[in-house]
């Protein structure tokens, strides 16, 4: 039997619970208490005492918050008590009691104010519900902390009504509270750009009919959330009764992701384009070398001994042929340089050069082209000269590029003036002036971009869009730069500077390499699949009557040749790199297994300067004594041939 209620001293008797009611309170499966307006306990039924392990009557007079954990005290003091005093009742607030053992017990707190100003309190322990709440809290936290809005969207007859649930990210994404979104879907939809809003409504309508999920990108109006952000909206529909469709999904800010994707695409496109360009340049260079080998090789052979046997006009034509061929070779080499670094070519060799001679030679090379277009060429006025420090090849190419452009983009019957004048202190400024159409500011802005032909690609004028890029590199390699001065309809003036040098330091002119007609002899095996190259080598070796050339067009043919009864064993191997059935270095390995060829010198003859065996050290590592690059230098090749044949071991089998 429960004891009668303990009451606080001094409390009006009427305020205390009547015995019958108190008996009921003591029998309840939850804890009943009565608090004074200042929070002291006036009465406590047995279940309350048992809940906190207090002796009968021991709770009376104590502040209620002493029964609570520290955290619960804060909620009680800051929120519950003020609410209770203002509103007169509270329901279902979650507090935690501090038990004697130190553990906490979660309770639901219900209370209401009585007429006498005291508060009746019911505490209901929540053990099971607590676990559910913990689980809910976990889910809610996951949803709220996720960097996206998780939502439930209710549509009626295909029209969005409200978001019964929207995680907290709705604040950041759409600038409204979950409550506002729950009241009306407009709180969210209103934050979208009109176009995106229509898109979403259409997608929801369509999805409701088809039952298919929807996924789309929406743009927020400026000034919402992060302003003009792109949101990804993904949801699946669930049809309910009466045409109601519930959508569950998420919306996430994907602005940053889209930007990164776009950047990656741009980057990959740029890399792809660079790769293609590099591959093209390398291939173009390689393909151009083979015909150049023939042009330059035969030109050199024709021109040996000062071109004896040729008429003077033929000699002159041969000179032009050689000059043009060499210029083309240097262009091919520069193309490669460009593809390698896109910026830097090899370091130039600055040497004293007679400027007038260089300018006139460059003009000479352009004369046929200029004549064809009726453009008049004017060189520097006679009677003066300067010595400059320049790289001969770079200077020639630079002048040729500028002059070639001046011819190409001139008007018919126009003129070109090439001259120099004093430039910066210690420098001379060389200027190429034309009477062409001139350049617009927009064109000037893109003047030095590789492959940009500034609109000329639509004209009949041929070009690569590389000339000025290379010219700029050449000028820079010599410490200057290209300056452009242009007027629409009047013409352009391209200029650059060259450093002055002392005339005295000019080297003595014309020191050709004298090739000794050595009494070399022996058999040379040349494995090469290109007929023209074989023809040139044959003509070249014809200059060494003691040498016998045998040729094969593939590795298999070479081996068959060597296996033939009575075959001569070569004293020198010349192997092309790319053969139809093998590579030069692989063929060499096989040939080396023949005792007679084990130590015979071998030369790699290649047009593929771009590949791994580019380095002399790599050539040696592959077993070659030397590497000859096409187009061949006739005199140098002959000298090397002499040297290698003399060094070759005694021709045992010959």
């Amino acid at each position: 039997m429960n004891k009668p209620a303990a009451t606080a001293p001094g409390l009006p008797a009427t305020a205390a619970l009547a015995p019958a009611a108190r008996a009921l309170a003591d029998a309840l499966p939850c804890a009943w208490l009565r608090l004074g307006s200042d929070g002291h306990i006036l009465e406590a039924a047995r279940p309350a005492e048992r809940l906190v392990g207090a002796a009968p009557g021991a709770l009376v007079g104590r502040p209620f918050d002493e029964l609570l954990t520290l955290a619960a005290r804060v909620v009680y003091q800051t929120h519950l008590l003020p609410l209770l005093q203002l509103a007169g009742h509270t329901a279902e607030l979650n507090l935690a009691l501090r038990l004697p053992g130190g553990q906490a017990l979660d309770v639901l707190f219900y209370s209401s104010r009585r007429d006498d100003g005291s508060f009746e309190v019911l505490l209901a322990p929540i053990r099971q519900r607590r676990r559910i709440e913990d689980e809910l809290l976990r889910v809610k936290r996951a949803a709220d902390q996720a960097p996206m809005m998780v939502f439930q969207l209710l549509c009626n007859a295909g029209v969005p009504q409200r978001f019964p649930y929207a995680s907290q990210s709705v604040r950041e994404l759409y600038g409204c509270t979950p409550e506002a979104a729950a009241a009306s879907a407009e709180a969210v939809l209103g934050a979208l750009r009109p176009g995106s809003r229509e898109q979403l409504l259409a997608a929801l309508d369509e999805g409701a009919r088809s039952g298919q999920p929807c996924r789309l990108q929406l743009q927020c109006a400026a000034g919402v959330g992060h302003g003009a952000a792109m949101h990804e909206f993904v949801a699946t529909p669930r049809a309910m009764a009466d045409g109601v469709v519930l959508w569950h999904g998420y919306a996430a800010d994907v602005t940053e992701r889209l930007r990164l994707e776009r950047e990656a695409q741009d980057r990959s496109a740029a890399e792809q384009s660079a790769r293609v360009r590099k591959a093209f340049l390398a291939r173009a260079s390689h393909e151009l070398r083979t015909p150049l080998n023939a042009i330059l090789g035969f030109a050199q052979l024709l021109g040996r001994d000062g071109g004896a046997g040729l008429r003077p006009d033929q000699q002159q034509a041969l000179g032009v042929l050689q000059t043009a061929g060499r210029h083309m070779l240097s262009l091919v080499n520069r193309l490669l340089d460009l593809s390698r670094a896109e910026t830097e070519g090899p370091a130039p060799v600055l040497q004293p050069l007679a400027l007038r001679a260089e300018l006139e030679a460059a003009l000479e090379g352009l004369r046929p082209q200029a004549a064809e277009r009726g453009v008049a060429l004017h060189g520097p006025a006679p009677g003066r000269d300067e010595t400059v420090l320049a790289d001969a090849l770079s200077l020639r190419q630079l002048l040729t590029n500028l002059l070639s452009n001046a011819v190409k983009y001139n008007r018919p019957g126009g003129r070109i003036e090439l001259d120099w004048a004093p430039g910066s202190p210690g420098w001379l400024r060389v200027t190429v002036g034309d009477t062409g159409v001139g350049l617009s500011d927009a064109q000037r802005a893109h003047l030095f971009e590789p492959f940009n032909r500034l609109g000329a690609e639509a004209s009949a004028t041929e070009g690569t869009g590389l000339g000025l890029v290379l010219a700029q590199q050449q000028a820079r390699s010599m410490g200057s730069d290209i300056a452009v001065d242009s007027m629409r309809g009047v013409g352009s003036r391209f200029s650059f500077e060259l450093q002055r040098a002392e005339a005295a330091s000019l080297p003595p002119p014309g020191q050709g390499a004298e090739a000794a007609q050595g009494p070399v002899q022996g058999t040379v095996l040349y494995v090469e699949d290109n007929e023209v190259n074989v023809l040139l080598m044959r003509a070249l070796l014809a200059l060494r009557p003691g040498v016998r050339l045998i040729t094969a067009t593939s590795g298999a043919e070479a081996e068959a040749l060597l296996d033939a009864p009575g075959a001569a064993q070569p004293a020198l191997l010349l192997l092309d790199l790319n053969l139809p059935d093998t590579h030069g270095h692989e063929l060499l390995q096989r040939l080396r297994r023949r005792p007679a060829l084990a130590r015979v010198p071998a030369v790699l003859v290649t047009a593929a300067v771009e590949e791994a065996i580019d380095e002399p050290a790599a050539t040696e590592a592959l077993g070659f004594a030397e590497r000859w690059i096409k187009p061949l230098e006739v005199e140098a090749s002959l000298a090397a041939l002499d040297r290698l044949l003399l060094r070759a071991p005694a021709q045992a089998a010959d």
Binding site: P63, V75, H79, L83, K140, D144, R171
Partner: protein
């Protein structure tokens, strides 16, 4: 939106000198209804709601700005400026006592006297010299409990409020209820309040200050009172005999009398 609307500023009463009442964490300006009216005859009584509380503009909440109490103090300064208040008597309860101190330091001249009810500059213990009364685990449990109770909001009140057809009215009713607090903001206000350390702000105070304490206060224990006595030499200390943390609600008469005495005996120019 200006600060007046944003913070739901309500101005009542006669008199030229303003008295600004700032509610603490967990409720709204309704807390002052047992004390503030007593000053309407003599003062301009200014009430407001902190962002996320009462009828304030929830959109004004800024994660960064309101991550620390100085952001909440900035709100107060903007209210003082918008209402064009000078030499005001600022009555701050609990965390708002600290917010008032930061505002007084930050906008000299706006606040002339500062009354702090149950203040604590730092709730966390900082051994060995400072005992705020709370360990980090207590605060974490508190944040959990706030969230659990807010879960009740989200899952019970909110659906009820948006029930079929009459959603707006119910929401209005919800809004008009007492101690309405936004769950999301409240959770962050709690973190800024209970994890912050504003001892330096209180030590900078250079204006007439009143500190009202309760003999038994679970939130601001006696050790905090000792620190205050040591570091606020210019302050007047008053103690109300009783337990609790809201003397303006549980002991309104004593609180009113203490405030009156402070104002009348204070040095602020009237």
């Amino acid at each position: 939106m200006d600060a007046i609307q944003r913070s739901n500023v309500v101005i009542r009463g006669q008199g030229t000198r303003a008295m600004v009442f700032a509610h603490g964490f967990g409720c709204d300006q309704n807390m002052w209804r047992f004390v503030a009216p007593a000053f309407e005859a003599t003062h301009r009584v200014v009430l407001f709601d902190h962002i996320g509380c009462g009828l304030s503009d929830l959109q004004a909440f800024d994660e960064r700005r309101h991550g620390q109490l100085c952001g909440w103090a900035q709100d107060v300064i903007e209210v003082l400026e918008a209402a064009d208040l000078h030499d005001a008597i600022f009555v701050g309860h609990s965390v708002s006592a600290t917010i008032g101190a930061i505002a007084a330091n930050g906008a000299p001249g706006r606040i002339g006297q500062l009354a702090m009810l149950c203040p604590s500059p730092r709730y966390l213990n900082d051994p060995p010299h400072y005992t705020g009364g709370f360990e980090r685990a207590d605060i974490d449990a508190l944040l959990d409990m706030i969230e659990t109770n807010m879960l009740g909001w989200a899952s019970f009140l909110a659906p009820m409020a948006m029930g079929a057809g009459n959603a707006p009215e119910l929401i209005d009713e919800l809004k008009a209820s007492f101690c309405a607090i936004d769950p999301y903001i409240t959770r962050r206000f709690a973190a800024a309040t209970f994890l912050g350390d504003n001892r330096a702000d209180l030590q900078q105070l250079g204006l007439p200050t009143l500190v009202v304490e309760m003999t038994q206060d679970a939130i601001a224990p006696a050790s905090v009172g000792r620190w205050l006595r040591e570091h606020l030499p210019q302050a007047r200390f008053e103690t109300i005999d009783g337990s609790g943390h809201c003397p303006h609600m549980t002991h309104p008469d004593e609180t009113t009398a203490l405030l009156r005495r402070f104002i009348d005996g204070g040095t602020g120019a009237a």
